[in-house]
Symmetry: C2
Subunit: 284 residues, 2 copies
DNA sequence: GAGTGGTCTAGACCACTTT
DNA sequence: AAGTGGTCTAGACCACTCG
């Protein structure tokens, strides 16, 4: 049985500045001060971005194998741990698959959207080369019904803001939003113009409010009278419903919404695997 | 400028066997042979499971803060890296949120299902305390249509197996599956009994076939004649449609399916955040 | 200013796949 | 047997949050 190791001197054990010729080198972000530039993104993000680009641009088609971790580490001048952190992102996005002992394989070449893109209807539309429109049909202070209160984590009957909003894509109505905002954000929402194109972007700019987490419940419902009217479909025809609740990074709920999409206009896609599975199927 | 460090002797630098009194200790899984037991799960998984349990059992309600990484590391006798790996899993599941500098916050207490649970209707039903039934309505060899061929990554017109299957929950029809299997797995599928409860489990047991990745496209459609007939709804009434393609760990497509759920019976849920976003919204 | 999470390194052993 | 990903450690510096 070997004796426990002596606490050998730690000085000069992890020599930061070596001849790497990088600015914001890993672990040693103090080298940042060399140039007066803004903060650089983390190394692992840069590596992930490079890989993502290579995949979406077709350098690694579906079925191709990625370079080994050792190769990537050498190519980017990073440690294996950092490379693994980068690859983990692609793994979570479902772009690549991984099995112990074998090289990683490209599963898909279509990247998933950023969370912001998902949340912001306008931003999403823009990314697809379309123009989004928005129109507030009604906006009223009220009290939270039991279900809404639960989702917003406020007591039942607490004051909230109800907003009914119609969203259009290239002029066509595609989405009817019934949103409930928590009281603390209500004034900021009411201050927005009725035809505000992107609520998300305005709240971020004006209030510094960042949406960080979301939960989406997806099912199908028949169009009610109001739905049919605004979305220009027949009453009773199928609509894709997404009930979502968004919270800040601290977990504070901001809004909860019942969104109804006209069929044929939008599809939701989830990629998952044995490693990461964000999708859940529940009883209604 | 400090000189590069001498490549100081690595002997006895990372002394594996210390007085930790653990069997499958981290990094040193050779200690496994002490007992003839089966393989233990990785440390980080065990830690993640413990945290998940604590959350779902209510020890950490929504809004509560988790112990710090240092505390968790000490409590589980693991390194910080391993703890971070564990917490990353909860992060990806959307159970907890994280901001630099602040303690992690519980966002939700309902765990997401395993990938297998999601894929297997029977397994999912069982987990919810219900009984699943299955019935093959038709099964026929045929050729892949252009769209199917693309999804299965085979040339158009390649031989495939089409199966129409009705799934019931406690006797009620809730799901109509139109599945296309790649040819190489077709014989195994045809060998299954018509009322096979869980195709997934049988294929895993009999063929050693593991589904590893999946892509789900979710939208709403009106019930067609066949849909209405089998699901016992009116023609034209809303159905939740999930088109999915599943592949093996190597990325080889196994099956693609058009699943239609009777409304009110099932809801799909996705949790996401700025860090990990598996959900995508696309134009139809 | 102490605490906490985010990032990074360097090295090690293992299980598994591939040649 | 060589290669590759999976797991783990121990230590370090940083940016950020909070009292």
């Amino acid at each position: 049985m070997p004796a426990p190791p002596p606490p050998d001197d730690d000085a000069r054990r992890h020599p930061r500045s070596r001849s790497r010729a990088r600015t914001g080198a890993g672990g040693d972000r103090s080298g940042r001060s060399t140039a007066g530039r803004g903060p650089e993104p983390p190394r692992h993000e840069a590596i992930a971005a490079a890989l993502r680009r290579a995949i979406t641009e077709g350098r690694y088609p579906v079925g191709a194998t990625l370079p080994s971790e050792a190769e990537l580490a050498a190519a980017h001048g990073a440690s294996r741990g950092t490379v693994r952190q980068a690859v983990a992102a692609l793994l979570a996005e479902g772009l690549v698959g991984s099995r112990q002992g074998a090289r990683r394989v490209v599963l898909s070449t279509t990247p998933s959207q950023s969370f912001t893109e998902l949340r912001s209807f306008a931003q999403w539309a823009r990314a697809g080369g379309r123009t989004a429109g928005g129109l507030v049909l009604s906006s009223s202070r009220g009290t939270a019904r039991a279900e809404e209160a639960g989702l917003l984590q406020v007591p039942p009957g607490a004051p909230v803001l109800h907003v009914l909003r119609l969203r259009t894509l290239d002029g066509d109505p595609v989405l009817l939003e019934r949103t409930v905002y928590a009281e603390w954000i209500a004034p900021a929402v009411e201050a927005l113009p009725d035809d505000c194109e992107s609520v998300t972007e305005r709240l971020r700019r004006d209030e510094g409010l960042v949406f960080a987490h979301g939960e989406h419940h997806i099912d199908a419902v028949a169009a009610g009278t109001a739905d049919a009217d605004h979305l220009r479909v027949r009453r009773g025809s199928p609509l894709l419903r997404v009930r979502r609740t968004t919270t800040t990074a601290e977990g504070r709920p901001v809004e909860t919404s019942d969104d109804r999409y006209r069929p044929g206009s939008v599809v939701f896609t989830v990629r998952n695997s044995t490693q990461t599975n964000p999708l859940t199927r529940t009883h209604a």
